[in-house]
Amino acid sequence: MSDILHKATVGAIGVGLAAALSMATPAGAGTVPESTDPIKIAINEWTGQHITAHVAGEILKRMGYNVEYVTAGYYPQLTAMEDNSVTAALEIWSSNIGEGYGKALATGNVEEIGDLGLVPVETWMYPAYVEEMCPGLPNWEALNACAEIFATPETFPKGRFLDYPADWGTTNVDRIAALGLNFVSVPAGSEGALVAEIKSAVARQEPLLIQFWKPHWVHANIDMKIVALPAYAEGCYDDPSWGLNPDATYDCDWERGYIKKMIWSGMKDKWPAAYRLLQNYTLTNEDQNPMMKAIDVDSEDLVEVVSEWVDANEARWRPWVEDAMK
C-alpha cells in the first residue's frame, strides 16, 4: 500500500515536470495523448480496486498518457468526478452506491461507461471448516439444526448472523424471517469489522455465518464457502406469493449485482482515445484473483504485479487500444 501512495505522491510531483517536458513536443490533432494533463484515477481502500485502477492506468501510460493515482473515499470520489478532481473511478459496486450515485449522475458531469466485467457475489458465507461442525452445509436448510453452535451469549438460543453495516442497505433481516431461520442479524460497523470477525473465527476455528462478498482479498487467504440459498429470480423481492414462503418477500438468495465504470463527462472531449479505451476496458474475477493473491498473500509489489500482468496479456488489451485509436 505504501508503495502505491509513494508512487502516487512522487507521481504527483513528477507531473509538473512531465507536463513541462511534453509541452516541448506539441501533440498534433488526432495523435495520442490529446492532452498531457494527468488523467486522475481513483484509488479506494481495497486491493481488488487497486488492481483494477492500476491495470487501466498502466495501459493508458503505455498509450502515452500521463496518469496520476488519487486516493479517494468511496462517496467523495463521486463528487470529485464532477469537476475532474478525479477523472475516472473504475470499480463502482451496484450494491453499494447509495444516493450519492444518483445525485452525481443528475449533475450531468459524471457518466457511467458500462460494466467492468467483474462478477460480484454477495451472499451468506462461512469458513470451510464449519461444514464439519454443521453437517448438511452448504444447504441452507441445515442451518436451523445447528443454530446453537453459531450462538453467542447475546443471541442465545438463536444463532448469530453477522450482517453488513446498517448503512449498506441489507435485506437479511427480512430474509432470515422469510426463510424461517432461527438466527439474529447483528450488524457490523465497517468492512474492517467484518474482516476482523473472519480472522478471529478462523484463528479460533469456531463457527461463523456472515454476509460477505466476492471478489475480495480475504478469499486468497481463507477458504470461505457459500451457503446454497434458494436461487434468486424475478419477483422474489417484491411478490410475497413467489417462492417457498407464500407470505413473505426475500425468501431467496441475493440478486447478483454488477460493477460499473464511471468517469468525468468532460473526458470524452479532452482525451477521446482514453475515453474509448476505458469504455472497452474489462477485468474479470479470473484476472483479479491471482493478482490479489500475489499482492496480499505473497506480499509482492502491486505495481510490479500489475505491470507483469499487462506484459503477459497484451493480446487482451491491444485490440481495445486499436479500437480506441480509430
Binding site: T9, E45, A80, D83, S85, E154, S190, V195, A196, A203
Partner: protein, 703 residues
Amino acid sequence: MIATNAVSALESAFHRRNYDPSLAVWLVTGVAVVALFALRGQYDWVTKLPEELVIPLEAWLNAFMDLFVASFKWLFRAISGLLEWPMNGLQALLHWLPWPATIAGSVVVAHLAGGWRLAVFTLCTLMYMVIVGYWDESMNTLALVGMAVPLSVAVGLFAGILDFSYRPAKSVIQPTLDLMQTVPAFAYLIPVLLLFGFGPVVGLVAATLYACPPMVRNVSLGLQRVPVDIVESAKMSGCTDRQLLWWVRLPAAMPTIMIGVNQTIMCALSMVIIAAIIGGFGDIGWEVLSTMRRAQFGQSLLAGLVIVLIAMNFDRISRGLTSRQRVSQARTGTLWQRHAHLWVALVAIMVAVALAQVLPELHDYPKAWIFYPAAVVNDAVTWFTANYFFATSAIKSWTLFYFLLPIRIGLENSVTPHFWGFALNLWISLGYAAAVAGLALWVDRATSWRGAVAVLITGGLFYFGTTGTPWAVFILVVTVTAFRVGGWRVGVFALGGLCFMLFTGIWERAMLSVYLCGTAVLIAFLAGGLLGIWAARNDRVSAFLRPINDTLQTIPLYVFLIPIIMVFLVGEFSALLAVIAYAIVPAIRYTEHGIRHVPAETVEAARAMGCTPRQLLWQVQLPLALPEIMLGLNQTIMLGLAMLVIAALVGTLGLGQMIYIALTAADFGKGAVAGLGIALIAMITDRILQSWSARKKVELGLA
C-alpha cells in the same frame, strides 16, 4: 413501585426536617414520574412522540444547504484553488528535501527547544518514519499541518482580539466556540466537503476550523489577564489604542497565547488524521484508515505510531520554544552566538542536499532497507485470540448481562432464566423496589436527602433502562436536576436541548448514545480516578502511565478497533471498550494533577494532626482536588462523546452511527442534526457539572 417508595422515603425526610423548598420540588417531580409510568401502558405518546409532531429539520437543512452551495460554490472553490498553491508548494518542498536534510533541520530545532534529550527524541522519531517506510506519507501530513496551523493561528488571533475588545462580538463568539468544541469532528467534514469539493484542501479547511477555538480562547484569556498596572503605565506614557494592543497587551499575554498555539497544533494534527477519511492526499491518516478497513492491525499500528510520535514532538517542541522565548528576551552576543542554531541547521541541510546528489539512498530511502514488523504484531493478536478467547468472552458476557443490558433495556426486560437463573416476576420486582427504597432511606439518614434522591433515580434507571424510560420522565428528571443544581438558566437550557432531540426525531438514537457514552464514562471515570490516585502517590506508576496516556490520546483510535473486535467480536462491549480507551486519559491525568497539587503545607498539617493515609486521602486530598477532578470528568464526557463516531465502526446504533452514515452519504442535514444532538448532550452535562462543582468549591472554601 419504586416511585411509591420514593414518595414515602421523601415524606419521612420531609417530616424529620424543617421545610426545604427544593425537597418539595423533588416530591412533585416524584409524583409526576409515578404518574407518567402509570400512563405508559395506556398512552403511546408517553414513550414515543407521535410521528406528526416531528419537525423535518434534516430536510430543511438540506434544502438550505443545497441553495447555499448552488449560490456560493464558486466562492468556496476559488478559495480552495487559492489555498492549493501554497500547499502544493510546501508538499513539493518536503518531498524534494532529502530525508537527512529534513531530519537535520528538525533535530536542530528540537535542540533549540529542549536541549539534547529532545533532539535525540526527534532524531529517533524521524528515523522511525524512514525505517518503517512511511516517510512520504508523513511528509504529506506535515504539509497539511504546516499549512493549517498558521492559518488557524491567524484566524484565532483575530477572533480572540475581537472577542476581547468588542463586546457585541463576544456574545456571538463564545457560544460558537462552545458549539465548535462539542460538535464531533466528523460532522465538520460534511459541509466542508460540500463547499470545498474534494482533495487535500478539504482536510486543510476542516483542520483550520477545528483548531481555531483553543487559540481564540487563549488569546482572549491572555488579554484579559494582562495586569492593570502594565496597561495603566502604557496609557500614561501616551500609547494609542493600537499601540496599546500590539506593543503592550499582546506581548504581555504571550505566555497564554503560546499555550493556545500549542493546543492549536495538536488539534490540527488530530483533525488532519480524521479528514483522511475523505482521501485525496495519501497521508499517514489515510494509511491508518485503509489498513484498519482491511483489518490489518500490525500495519495500522505502525502507521498510528508515526502519528503518536509526530504529536509528541510537536507538543514538546512548541512548548519548549514557548518557555525559551520568555527567557531569551535579553540576550546579547555576536551574530553567530545569537543565531548558532540557525547556522548549524542551514549548513547541515545544505550538506545533506549536496550529498543526496551523489548518494541516491539519501534521497529515496531504499526499499530493501525498510524494516516493517507488521506480521509479528498480527501473529501475536491471532495467537492471543486463539488461546485466550474463552477468558475474554467470559468477561464480556458477565459485563453484558449484569451491567450493560440492565442499563440499556432495564432489569425489567433483561432478566431471563437463561443467564440470571430466574425469571422476573412481581415479587422479585417488589423485592428490588424495597431494596432500593431501603438503601435510599439509609443514605438519607447517613448523609442527606439529596443522596437519597440520587439513589432512587439510579435504582429506577437500572430497573427501566435508558431506552425503557419514557421521554417525558427523562426530560422531567434532567430538567429538574439542572434547575436545582444550576438555577433557572441551566434548567431552561437543558429543557430546550432535550426538546430539540425529541422534536427532531433523534430521541431514540440519542438515548442509545447517552447509554453507551454514559456507561463508558462511568467506568472510565472510576477506573481512571483510581489509577490517577495511584499515580499521584507513586512516581513509578506515574512515569509508567504517562507514555500510555500520551499514546492513547494521540493515536487515531481506529487502530485499536481491529484487535478489540478480534478478541471481543462485533457488539456493544467492543464499542464500550473503544470509548473507554479514549475517555480514560483525562480521568487519570486530572485526578493525579489535582491530588499532586494539594498544597504541601495542608498535607503536612493533616499529617501532624495524626491523619492516617486513608483519612488524608478521603478527608483532605480528594476534597481539595475536587475542582480538578470534576474538570477531568467533564473532559472524560467530552472525549467519550467524540469517540462515539469512531465506535460506530464497530457497529453501534446511536448518534455516532448517524453521523458516520451522513458522512458516507454527504447528507448535511442528517449530520448537522446528529452533531448538534451530541453537542447538546455534552453542553447540558457540562453546565450541570460545572454548576455543581462551583457550588462545591464555595462549600469547601476554595473559591
